[in-house]
């Protein structure tokens, strides 16, 4: 008997029981048409689009950070990244609100530039980037660390800067790692609730005018926004899980390939 294996499987099953139960009831006994209305699907769509954009921004802005941390030795930057992770998520929403409030000079300046976070797609994406970027970095950094540095050192000897080495040598060789980390970041963004329920309870822009992110919609249904809301919330949650699951699985697939 392999006890380590038995304990591991049992522990993971414990982790998954609530989700399995939710899927069962959402798609079975509690299934409610109010859980898969156009409005619900629109909000899942908004969540997917905003999370994908956030993951793209994570890639563009934070791949260099992950590489810098993997090859440098910068304990300060490394610990700064953990700050958003350690803060209760609604606080990030409040922080964005204050940053961009007409009552503060920073907000007055941003609003003057036409940058508005409150109930906008922009605000939603910014919050999702803040919540998912640390996850992206934490996924990318070990990937870079596990690479043999010889090719990079060779490139630098031939005259390439660190940034140039990252773009021309490391990235073409890291596609599966980047895709995996981006998908992990995207799943993280899809699951975000706390910060976006404050900064972007719903968004007021084309093509998502009046649409709430999926997690917020589910919360509203649960709170009884419509009669029979609990069943609708359970069904909508099950739908959300079915959408999010392939993204997680794909991330896992690419991570295995990148090893």
């Amino acid at each position: 008997m392999n006890w380590l294996r038995a304990v591991s499987i049992a522990a993971v099953v414990l982790l998954l029981i609530p989700i399995a139960v939710l899927l069962y009831y959402g798609l079975g006994p509690f299934r409610s048409p109010a859980g898969y209305t156009t409005a619900v699907f629109r909000s899942i769509e908004l969540s997917i689009v905003a999370s994908a954009v956030a993951a793209l921004i994570d890639f563009a802005l934070f791949t260099p950070v992950a590489y810098y941390l993997a090859r440098g030795n910068d304990a300060i930057v490394e610990s700064l990244i953990d700050i958003p992770v350690g803060i209760p998520h609604p606080i990030i929403g409040v922080a964005l609100l204050i940053l961009d409030s007409p009552l503060t000079p920073t907000g007055q300046f941003l609003l003057f530039l036409g940058i508005n976070f409150f109930n906008t797609i922009l605000g939603l994406v910014v919050a999702l980037v803040i919540m998912s970027a640390p996850i992206y970095i934490k996924a990318m950094q070990p990937f870079f660390e596990s690479r043999d540095a010889s090719a990079e050192e060779f490139a630098m000897g031939l005259g390439a800067s660190r940034m140039r080495t990252l773009v021309s040598i490391v990235l073409p060789d890291s596609v599966s790692g980047v895709v995996s980390a981006s998908l992990v970041a995207m799943s993280r963004a899809l699951g975000e609730f706390g910060s976006i329920s404050i900064i972007a309870f719903y968004v007021l822009q084309y093509p998502f005018y009046g649409v709430s992110p999926a997690s917020v919609t589910i919360f509203q249904l649960f709170n009884g926004a419509i009669p029979g809301g609990l069943n609708a919330a359970v069904t909508a949650s099950a739908a959300m899980i079915l959408v999010a699951l392939p993204i997680t699985v794909a991330g896992h697939f690419f991570r295995r390939r990148s090893r």
């Binding site: 060779f154 490139a155 000897g157 031939l158 005259g159």
Partner: protein
């Protein structure tokens, strides 16, 4: 012309080495003697506690790696995703130097590169040829070769041909070896043991 006098440490290992000379220099010692540590210190990948690395009269000790004009070649110094021809001129292109077809084809024929395709799919010996030729065609001031001659079936002939090409391009070569008799392929021989070099004439 290179003038190296360095003290450095990697963990508990202490390096106190001196290498001077122009042309081809061989650093010979057994496993763990400090050959790689010395070459990494010279290339700028190991922090130097004390001393200097002077290349062609210019003190490059504090310059960033990409500005030293010193290339370290190891058996893993390849860009897997490139094909052979774009690999060979990668450094030249980067520096904005003109790519001379004659020069490239001469290097290819002298160094036995009669194959093409994606570098990641080549055998180890083939990859070593490609990375050594890439370093040569980039025309740095110094090429440091750590074990990268090891998998060549015509090792001695290759080192001789490579040295001839480097002399023509006025590039100094320092290569490591387990075998002091490789000194016959070099203008200067240094022996290294427990991180300390001694000159052998």
């Amino acid at each position: 012309m290179i003038e190296v006098r360095v003290r450095a440490h990697a963990g508990h290992f202490r390096l106190a080495a001196e290498v001077n000379g122009s042309g081809v220099t061989c650093v010979a010692g057994r496993n763990g003697a400090g050959k790689t540590t010395l070459l990494r210190a010279m290339a700028g990948f190991l922090k130097i506690d004390e001393g200097h690395v002077i290349v062609g009269g210019l003190d490059v000790t504090r310059l960033p790696v990409e500005k030293k004009g010193v290339v370290l070649v190891t058996p893993s110094s390849t860009f897997q995703h490139l094909d052979v021809d774009s690999h060979l001129v990668w450094g030249r292109k980067l520096a904005g130097k003109q790519i001379l077809e004659d020069q490239v084809s001469k290097a290819k024929s002298e160094l036995g590169i009669d194959f093409g395709g994606r570098v990641g799919k080549l055998s180890l010996g083939m990859r070593e040829r490609v990375s050594l030729a890439t370093a040569l065609l980039t025309e740095p001031k110094v090429i440091l070769v750590d074990e990268a001659f090891a998998s060549l079936h015509d090792r001695e002939e290759f080192i001789t041909a490579y040295s001839r090409l480097l002399v023509g391009a006025r590039i100094d070569l320092v290569f490591s070896s387990q075998d002091a008799s490789d000194g016959k392929l070099a203008d200067h021989l240094y022996l290294i043991d427990e991180g300390v070099t001694t000159r052998n004439n």
